[in-house]
Symmetry: C2
Subunit: 243 residues, 2 copies
């Protein structure tokens, strides 16, 4: 039985990859992924064969991985962040039904929520939600419901895919929904290009976040009622009693 590794490579920098992820790539014959992620690992594994498919061809990418494994090659399918958080692990299981002779091994990684949190300080710490603002595969009504329920229950919220060319006003819409339950001064933060060239971060109020333009390489953190700014960093205490 051959195995395909589905590998979360972390935010981008080699150092933020797990030891296990680096080992899987090292023993692979071929590394498959979306073009942008392949470029991130290429320099660290120069002797490997790389294969890419564009953004919207995820099913083709999975089929490619299984077909290469069937030939007896050691294959890694790479995802940025964690393979199981807005990553390829789920689709690999779905497509894998057609390839019972190939086994999947999922190798977890640091996702943008935790990678970005480390840059901002300690914004998550306790209960939190991850919500993607992309309505490509999810109806906007469902996203809206999740934002409202998360804000009402005082979760810290981490937003993935907060913007794109077609969705430039989605972050403002999301902030307006959260503002129904959380104050304008709620401490928020954004991180661009986590663990990559051009990494930048900013702590701001929910009101300021509402009027901030972000791009698709930005991860957004909306604090809860307990989140505060300490020395310029965004920090949520664990629990509700004072230290």
């Amino acid at each position: 039985m051959s195995t395909v590794y589905v590998v979360g490579i972390g935010p981008g920098a080699y150092e933020k990859m797990t030891v296990e992820a680096a080992e899987a790539l090292r023993k692979s014959d071929v590394i498959i992924g979306y073009t942008v992620y392949v470029e991130l690992v290429k320099e660290h594994f120069p002797d490997k064969e790389f294969m890419t498919t564009p953004m919207t061809r995820e099913v083709d990418r999975c089929v490619l991985a299984f077909e290469e494994a069937k030939k007896g090659r050691v294959v890694s399918m790479i995802c940025s962040g964690d393979a199981g958080v807005y990553g390829m692990a789920g689709l690999m299981y779905e497509v894998g039904v057609q390839y019972p002779e190939v086994e999947l091994s999922i190798i977890p990684g640091v996702t943008a929520a935790t990678g970005g949190a480390a840059v901002l300080g300690a914004p998550l710490i306790h209960d939190f939600c991850l919500i993607s603002l992309s309505d490509l595969l999810t109806p906007w009504e469902k996203i809206e419901k999740r934002l409202l329920n998360a804000a009402e229950a005082d979760f810290v919220i981490c937003l993935y895919n907060p913007s794109s060319r077609k969705r430039h006003d989605y972050l403002a819409k999301a902030c307006d929904l959260v503002l129904r339950f959380q104050g304008e001064d709620t401490v928020c933060g954004i991180v661009e290009n986590i663990g990559r060239e051009g990494e930048a971060w900013k702590v701001m109020s929910l009101k300021e976040l509402r009027d901030t333009q972000v791009d698709m390489f930005t991860t957004v953190f909306i604090g809860n009622s307990q989140t505060k700014e300490i020395g310029g960093k965004m920090v949520t205490p664990r629990g509700y009693r004072n230290v």
Copy 2:
């Protein structure tokens, strides 16, 4: 200015640590942590000095780290999983207000949600919540509200601290709340001792989960309306359109 590294060591196995985390420990003079986590890393860094404080002495542990750093020593404060997810990063910023001459560097890691997900298959994939069932620092009413709101909005839910000696019925109580919005056949999963000796996992229905006894080393995953079982694994598709 001296630096304290606050290091997420991942679920436990050395291989699941990031390259950066291993480097931080390698260049440290002293490694500080809760006894259980210190035992997990000790064998891989045999030449280091280790210091521990018990479970409830977290503030003392932070003070210890800052005091050692003030002496000019390179210090790592270790946390299991990610330093910023139910970890020490937040408290270190709070205590750090008293130590303006010491800088914090947070090094993210693989948290139980993503580490456990990789064992179960691909249960998270899209929007999800992390909720701790420990009411040591959070009122139960707040936990209850979060469970209800998360279930109503069809989030996948990952439960940390699902049980303890004093809270043996909390998982059943949590399942009963989720059952108000999700069906009895909702696909769920548990993982014990993620990435450690004795790792074990099981996929089951929400009804079965309700009547399952778990311990404090277990992470629990409750699927959403889209989650399914594929070849014995727990898989949530990304989005709501068919492949």
